[in-house]
């Protein structure tokens, strides 16, 4: 009667609808935090090249700090500590988007940085000689050259972030892992819900990674390499 490796289909059918609707939360939190990370990472990368060395240094220190502490600790801070320390109450979704988004913005800032460093220094000089402002130089000259080659790497980070979202169940976000934990702890049957979570991630991640690989080969062909 304790044979927990027997798959219980009735039980599965019971939680699966909840899991499917929670999948929407998983996907929404993934894209929202990816958007935060895309913009935040770009800002950090640009700040690290700021003319004022103080700003560049602060941005660098922020990146190192975030990258050197665990995501789950940051999520706990934003969700459980901020309401008390700063009187800032956030929904699990918002807190999750901020935590995951900012955490990955530090990784993406490194990705952007590699792309920006790959742009020839002569491009900056030509832009200056033509009297483009710093912002115009970024927007019109540097980023249009730096970003396209990064698209596959950015796509991979989207998938990585997608697979990181279960961490947010720790701050009560009802994404699919949250649902699995809820049903699991109520019935003491974790096999089915956790298996389904893994399966759902596999079903979505794998095709996405194929898509990224396809985009990469196309891009490489375009650039003639």
């Amino acid at each position: 009667m304790w044979n927990r490796l027997d798959w219980d289909w009735d039980y599965t059918m019971q939680f699966l609808p909840h899991m499917f609707s929670a999948l929407k939360v998983t996907i929404a939190v993934t894209f929202a935090s990816f958007a935060v990370a895309l913009i935040g990472g770009l800002l950090l990368a640009m700040l690290r090249r700021a003319r004022y060395k103080g700003i560049a240094y602060l941005a660098g220190a922020f990146v190192e700090f975030i990258r050197s502490t665990p995501l789950i600790v940051q999520a706990f801070f934003i969700f459980y500590v901020f309401p008390i320390s700063f009187n800032l109450v956030l929904s699990p979704f918002t807190a999750g988007v901020i935590a995951l988004g900012i955490h990955y913005s530090t990784y993406l800032s490194e990705v952007y940085r590699s792309g920006i460093d790959a742009v020839d220094k002569g491009q900056w000089e030509a832009a200056k000689a033509l009297n483009f402002s710093r912002m115009q130089t970024w927007m019109r000259i540097i980023l249009p050259q730096a970003i396209p080659p990064l698209i596959p790497v950015l796509g991979n980070y989207l998938i990585v972030m997608f697979k990181e979202t279960p961490i947010l169940s720790a701050i009560t976000l009802m994404e699919i892992m949250g649902v699995a934990k809820q049903f699991g702890s109520a019935s003491w049957r974790f096999l089915e819900p956790v298996t389904m979570v893994g399966l759902l991630f596999l079903l979505l991640s794998y095709p996405s990674s194929l898509l990224v690989r396809y985009a990469e080969t196309r891009l490489n062909r375009q650039r003639g390499s």
Partner: protein, 263 residues
């Protein structure tokens, strides 16, 4: 020394020095360039001639000394009679009077040729795209590349790229233009087409030109005045005939003889 003392210089270097760490590459240079004057700067590699042009284009900041452009300080501002480092706004204003063509062209690879030439007038000068394209086409015509307007830089030869870079700088209508060893990265057979374009522009006359070059025949033909730099100083200057036919200093004599021997 020159016959233009009644005229106001467009560029005025005063006691300019430049160091990188312990290495001083410019050791006190005074130089006036007059409106529409064509000066050629020659000298051995490492003599500081490229740095001289780059400081005028605001790509490198002098360690000390001042540069004036059209009567205004470039790197400095006077506040209560004291010189202070100019802010970006001031640099932006003065920089509009200066143009530069680079050794490695530095065209924007993600833009068509026409776009390369029109982007700055539209974004920086606020010109309408139509107006910019009209002027851009004129300049592309001048450098003989109007049929390449829809191509991308990667589809052009080195000589063609450099001609586009010249058109791109001309569109901004600078008062003084720095040509920094613009043929040094070119295959020998492509040098001529670029020099011809520059000669043509020099003939038109209204813009001052600072030609940093290793092409002695070209310097002789185009320049009103030749500056010979060595070890971070101006060693000798004068009209081309004097510099090339009757060099006074031993440094210049050695430089020229070695140069001729190489060619």
């Amino acid at each position: 020394m020159n016959m233009r003392s009644d005229e106001k210089p467009i560029v005025r270097y005063r006691n300019i020095r430049k160091s990188y760490g312990d290495l001083e590459v410019i050791k006190g240079i005074d130089l006036d360039i007059f409106p529409a004057e064509k000066i050629a700067v020659i000298g051995p590699s490492g003599s500081g001639k490229t740095t001289l042009g780059r400081m005028l284009m605001t790509l490198e900041e002098p360690s000390s000394g001042t540069i004036e452009v059209d009567g205004e300080l470039l790197w400095h501002k006077k506040v209560n009679g004291k010189l202070v480092r100019a802010d970006e706004k001031h640099l932006h204003k003065i920089r509009g009077k200066i143009g530069m063509v680079f050794q490695h062209f530095n065209l924007f690879p993600h833009m068509t040729i026409l776009r390369n030439v029109t982007e700055a007038p539209v974004r920086v000068k606020g010109m309408s795209r139509k107006e910019a394209e009209k002027i851009g086409m004129e300049m592309l015509d001048k450098v003989g590349l109007i049929d390449k307007k829809d191509n991308y830089p990667s589809q052009l030869s080195g000589g063609q790229k450099q001609r586009v870079a010249i058109a791109r700088a001309l569109v901004m209508d600078p008062k003084v233009m720095v040509f920094d060893e613009v043929t040094s990265a070119l295959d020998p057979e492509l040098v001529g087409e670029v020099l011809n374009v520059i000669k043509e522009i020099a003939r038109e006359g209204k813009m001052a030109m600072m030609l940093i070059t290793h092409e002695m025949d070209f310097a002789r033909e185009v320049a009103d005045r030749v500056i010979f730099t060595a070890d971070g100083r101006i060693v000798e200057e004068g009209p081309p005939e004097q510099i090339f036919e009757h060099p006074k200093s031993e440094r210049l004599q050695n430089f020229l003889s070695r140069f001729m021997a190489k060619v």
